[in-house]
Structures are given as structure tokens and as C-alpha cells.
């Protein structure tokens, strides 16, 4: 992706945007440096992905080509089967996004309007998961999940932990969005026109921070889609855990490579959409 992109860039890097003070010679040297860097890093990042793509297109005989592994994503019988794991992964992403937003948005608005003094503690708690990474959190979560397991729930219960992992990223995105609007003024306006607190949050503030909410959702989903540690150690089967087991049962099964590449591309598409959605919004405003 990088190499293709660097070709497109040559037309876009308009010299007019550069400082006039920079001499032509120096500018040219900078460009040589940039294309060199893009080529080297582009190769480093692309080659493993290309190798994955080639492995996923391997036919029955060595060196042949086939789409079988891509068709197999939906039908792989296992052990273990893939489709239920894909479903659970997507459900986990949705559940995590919903719970993170329901938990954070009203609380953040409320704190900004009514209880400013608590905001420092709140920020600390939201960023705390950065210092307690998944591998540590899971050790403490094990007894709690042993308790939850009595109720025989599916792997979907993992979202309780995923919400915590997504908390710092969602908090940063939402906090940037809230800083960009004048929460106090618009909510006072709505309140004095007779709106309830629910209306203020759901129909006045949330529509004004759509971009930030989208940001938070994309970051949370990208995190959930690749999450392995917590699921693996709490003995739940999500997509990465199933891929891991397939790789142990059948080393170099093509379906591992097609599915991993598909999930990487899916996350990449999500983040790219986010970046363009942000630009459109920005232009619309300016």
C-alpha cells in the first residue's frame, strides 16, 4: 500500500506549501530522502503482507494459484470452525462500542456541566488501563470471570473486559470532541427551553460531536478485532484464538492467512474511512 501511495504523493506534494525560505537544492535533497524512506519502509511493511497474500492464494499443489482459502473463510469446518468465531468477533466489536459510548458520553457531559471537580479523577481512571496492560489485567480478571462463568454465558461476555481496554482511546477521542463545542452554552440554551437532561445529551450534544463518536467507535473496534490476550487466557474462543488453534493443528493452513489478511484489511478500511470522514467534516465547517 505504501509504495502505491508514494507514487500518488508525487503529484500532491505541492511545492507552494513549503516555506519559500528553503532553497531548491535542499528541497530536492529532502525529496530524495523521503522517497528513499518510503521505498525502504514500504518494502518492509508490504513484503510480509504480500507473502501472506501469496500463502492465502496457494492451491493444492505447491506453486499453484487458487481462491479456495478465501472461499473457505465462511465454510471452514475446523477444527475449530471459523464462522462462529467471526460472528462473535463482530458482535464483540459492536457490544464494546455501544457500552463504551453509553458509559462515557453521558458521564463526560454530566461531569463537564455539573461536577467539574471530579474531572481529574475521571481522567485518571480512563487513562489507567494504559498502565495496566491486558496481560496484567487478565490475571486479576480470572477470578471475576470464574464467577461470571457460572451463568454459562457465551464469549460475548468478553466485552466487559474489552470496554476497559478501549477506555483510554475512546476517552481521548471523545474528550477532543467535547473540547471543540461549547457544552455549557448549548446545554443551558436547551435546558432553558425546557429540554430534559436526556434530551440535552441525546438530541443536542451527541449530534454535535458525531466525528468524535465515530473516532471512538473505530478505535474501539480496531482494538477488539485483533484482541487475543484476554480471550486466550480466559479460555474463550474469539477469532484470533481460533486462528491460533488452527495454526497449531494444521501449520500453514491457507485459511489462516486469508482470514488474517481479511481482518487486517478490514481494520485498515475502517481507519481509512475514518480519516476521510474527518476531512469531509472539516471542510464542511471551514
Amino acid at each position: 500500500m505504501a509504495a502505491i501511495a508514494s507514487l500518488g504523493e508525487s503529484g500532491l506534494a505541492t511545492p507552494a506549501e513549503r516555506p519559500r525560505g528553503m532553497q531548491v537544492r535542499r528541497r530536492r535533497r529532502l525529496n530524495v530522502f523521503r522517497y528513499l524512506v518510503f521505498t525502504v519502509f514500504g518494502l518492509f511493511f508490504l513484503l510480509p503482507l504480500l507473502a501472506t497474500a501469496r500463502f492465502s492464494l496457494e492451491g493444492n499443489r505447491l506453486g499453484s494459484w487458487s481462491l479456495a482459502a478465501w472461499k473457505e473463510i465462511a465454510t471452514y469446518k475446523g477444527p475449530p470452525p471459523l464462522l462462529p468465531a467471526i460472528e462473535i468477533q463482530l458482535e464483540l466489536a459492536v457490544a464494546t462500542c455501544v457500552v463504551v459510548l453509553v458509559l462515557l458520553v453521558p458521564t463526560m457531559v454530566w461531569i463537564r456541566l455539573r461536577v467539574q471537580w471530579i474531572s481529574r479523577v475521571f481522567e485518571f481512571l480512563c487513562l489507567l488501563p494504559l498502565t495496566i496492560p491486558a496481560i496484567i489485567l487478565v490475571v486479576g480478571l480470572a477470578p471475576i470471570y470464574n464467577f461470571i462463568r457460572h451463568y454459562q454465558l457465551s464469549a460475548l461476555t468478553l466485552f466487559f473486559a474489552y470496554v476497559i481496554l478501549a477506555l483510554p482511546y475512546a476517552y481521548r477521542a471523545l474528550s477532543a470532541g467535547l473540547n471543540a463545542i461549547d457544552v455549557t452554552t448549548i446545554s443551558e440554551a436547551a435546558r432553558s427551553l425546557g429540554a430534559s437532561w436526556f434530551t440535552v445529551i441525546a438530541r443536542v450534544i451527541v449530534p454535535n460531536m458525531g466525528q468524535a463518536i465515530l473516532n471512538a467507535m473505530v478505535l474501539a473496534s480496531a482494538l477488539v478485532l485483533g484482541e487475543f490476550t484476554v480471550a486466550y487466557l480466559l479460555l474463550y474462543n474469539n477469532l484470533p484464538v481460533e486462528l491460533f488453534s488452527i495454526s497449531r493443528n494444521t501449520p500453514n493452513a491457507s485459511v489462516i492467512f486469508s482470514t488474517s489478511l481479511a481482518s487486517l484489511l478490514f481494520a485498515f478500511a475502517l481507519l481509512l474511512i475514518l480519516s476521510y470522514a474527518g476531512r469531509r467534516r472539516h471542510r464542511g465547517r471551514g
Binding site: 524512506v37 511493511f45 495496566i132 485483533g226
Partner: protein
Amino acid sequence: MAVVTATETGVRPSRAGRRPSIPGWVGTVPFLAYVGVFLLLPAGIVIVDALKNSSGGWQFSAITELGNPLVRGYFIGSLKLCVITSVSGAVFGAILAYAVASGNPDGVVRRMYLAGSGVLAQSGGITLAFAFQALLGPVGLLFHASWFYDFPWGISLIYAYFQIPLMVLVFMPAIDGLKVQWREASENLGASAWQYWRHVGGPLLAPAFLGSTLLLFANGLSAFATIEAWESQVAYTVPQQISISLSSEVGLSNINYADVLALGMMIMVVVIMTGYALLQRRASRWLR
């Protein structure tokens, strides 16, 4: 009596707008309850269990297990891996971040690299190990690297695949914060490119660079998925050993081995992240 009722009725209408009985902090209770159960409680369990023996009594000697040569081996393994990948990731990531940042701020390259970095840094996990296995593994496409399963060099290469993107993400804002005017001013005063970086750009970026290196260090320390997919039979690092002792109860006698390891790691990460926060504050003085 009459006076009292009069004041009461007199006060009420002015309060009627907001219900006075509920204090404001009640609105934060759902959040606090959730964080309490799924973040603070697990952290507390790790700390308390690390300091207890199996019969339930307090036993601070459990912590001294961190000095056990076997346990120390895992920490040294983790440290080796983290030093190599955080320093190399920071240097290469900074070069790449500068190359990306010096282009069009709205261009395709920048979008591609930032989105790609987000994917590789955030949701790579086990897929990255598969990708390198396809490229360099025993049946790899490019060549069959004999050192692919060597610790720490084989795994370091794979770690670079998510450390460099993370560096791009966290270091980019610092480079964007370098003002064009500073460069122009130094050029007008006759500075060469080397002099600019030596006396202006370098010192300005140094705190952000060090802070980002620390963040990469913490990230490498806590990474587990990639190394587990790379080699799940032999434990080289602390996270792998935590995994082993969580899934099998066999460990050093009489202590909660996983909890002790996790506590040791938690202390390291807290120290590192505190350093990161301090350096970030220092960095933000100029770069905004």
C-alpha cells in the same frame, strides 16, 4: 409557625428548577461502578494475591521471588526484547514519521501511513507473526531465515512491525509541532541543515522522542499475542510465563506465581508510564 411556613413556601419556588435532593456526583456512579468492578477490582486482586500465600496469610516474601534466578531470567528476556525493539523502533519510526510529516498534510501518503500504522500498532496481534512466518519462516517465500526462531533477534524483527507504526503515531504530533518559522529563522541566519538539527530541531524533539521510546518500551513489555503465535512452546518473556502459570497451577511452591509476575510487571509499567507522562509535559512546553 406562620413565619416558618412562609419561609418554606418562599424558598421552594426558587429551588424547583433543579431537584435539590440529588447531588451531582450521582451521575458518575454507573461509570465508577463499572470501572470499579472491571479495572480497580482486578488490579486489587493482583496486588493482594501477590502478597498472600496459599493458606491465605500475608507473605511479603512472595515478592522476593522476583529475585529468584529463574524468574529473573524471564524479566531479563523481556528487558532485552524491549530495549532492542523500543530503541530501534523509535529511531526508524522517527525517520519515517519525519518523511511522512514533511509531505502534504492532506495527502494520500499521510492518510495511508497513519491508517496503516493504526492497524499494525493496534490490531495486529497474532496476524503479524503469521505474516512473517509466510515471509521468512521455515517455508517462507523470501528466504528461510535460520534465525527466525532465535530469541531475541527473530522476534525483534516481528516486534518492529508494530513498534515502528506506534512510533509514527505517537511521534507525529511532535514533528507537526515544529514551526516552519524556526527553520526559516535558522536558515536566514546561515545555519546548515546539520546545525539546525543539532541546535534547534533536535533539542526541541528530544523530550518527545525519549517519551515515545518509553511508551514503546511499555508496549513491548506487555505484548503477548505476537510472541505466543511465534513460539508457544518455550517461554522467554514475562507475559509468556504469566500465561503458562495461569493455565497450569504448577509453579513455584506456595505462592501465586502469576500474580507475583503480574505485580512485578505492573510496577515496571507504572514507573515507565510516569516517566512518559513527565517527558510529555516537558515536550508540550514548546510544541503546541
